[in-house]
């Protein structure tokens, strides 16, 4: 662990010399490295992709797959989820689009 820390510090000093960075650049590299470390750590701890024992495969997707067609009449299960079961969420998405357009028009038409 101490060796790794030493290598990281040496690499930062080497990059500082090579790229002629200011102290602020060193701080940026440290921060980005820290964020990257935690992201990699999180991804490494995630359950494997597509495993049937994953915690996301609980009773809710089972309900969607078993009675989705009978509940909504839609063969496309994605449509039945986003427009029937989670339609309120889709209204939020449409609102995001609307606000984006309003912001673009307000910014670009003013000058």
């Amino acid at each position: 662990m101490e060796d790794l820390l030493f290598i990281i510090i040496a690499a930062i000093f080497a990059m500082r010399y090579l790229l002629r960075l200011q102290a602020r650049g060193v701080f940026t590299i440290l921060l980005v490295g820290l964020i990257g470390f935690f992201f990699s750590f999180t991804v490494a701890e995630m359950p494997p992709f597509g495993d049937p024992n994953n915690p996301v495969f609980n009773e809710i997707p089972a309900r969607y797959m078993e009675s989705g067609v009978a509940d909504t009449g839609a063969v496309n299960i994605v449509s039945s989820v986003i427009i029937d079961y989670r339609a309120f969420d889709t209204i939020g998405e449409a609102t995001v689009l609307f606000v984006a357009i309003a912001a673009v028009i307000a910014t670009l038409r003013s000058h």
């Binding site: 509940d71 496309n76 986003i82 427009i83 029937d84 339609a87 449409a94 609307f98 673009v104």
Partner: protein, 150 residues
């Protein structure tokens, strides 16, 4: 030489655009049957209008769908979505309810089925298509104006 390239691009895009538009409408209205739906179909339809505006010029593109029409379609799509949800309340169910509100469900697998899903997908497609077109025209016009000023 530039005119020749322009000619190729213009004729090709003029030939291809109707097929892209038909495909976009197909993806929108088959949203409850096949992969796709309002968002992807609307993006396809809007991309065809952007293609025409790119290969010709802004005036020809604006002739296809004007600023006011795009704005009305934009707001109308969102409004239609919300009104479909309110109709469900008026029919005595929850906001955005489908089967429990008594929308006609039809035969599963047919084109006109799935009640509110069909209607909402249609409105979403209109909204996404006009969003893409409005975004594109506003950004391009802003570029033009700043280019003239310099």
């Amino acid at each position: 030489m530039g005119t020749l390239e322009n000619q190729i691009v213009r004729i090709t895009s003029r030939l291809v655009a109707p097929f892209i538009q038909v495909y976009g409408i197909y993806v929108i209205i088959h949203g409850h049957l096949s992969p796709g739906g309002g968002f992807s179909g609307g993006a396809i339809f809007g991309a065809s209008l952007v293609l025409v505006a790119l290969s010709f010029n802004l005036e020809v593109g604006a002739k296809q769908i004007s600023h006011d029409t795009a704005s009305i379609l934009e707001s109308g799509g969102a409004l239609g979505f919300v009104i479909t949800g309110l109709v469900a309340i008026a029919l005595g169910a929850n906001f955005l309810a489908n089967q429990s509100a008594g929308f006609p469900m039809g035969q599963t697998g047919q084109l006109f089925s799935a009640g509110a899903i069909f209607i909402i997908t249609f409105f979403l497609g209109i909204k996404v298509a006009s969003t893409i077109v409005t975004l594109f025209y506003n950004i391009i016009e802003g570029e033009d104006k700043s280019g003239d000023a310099h």
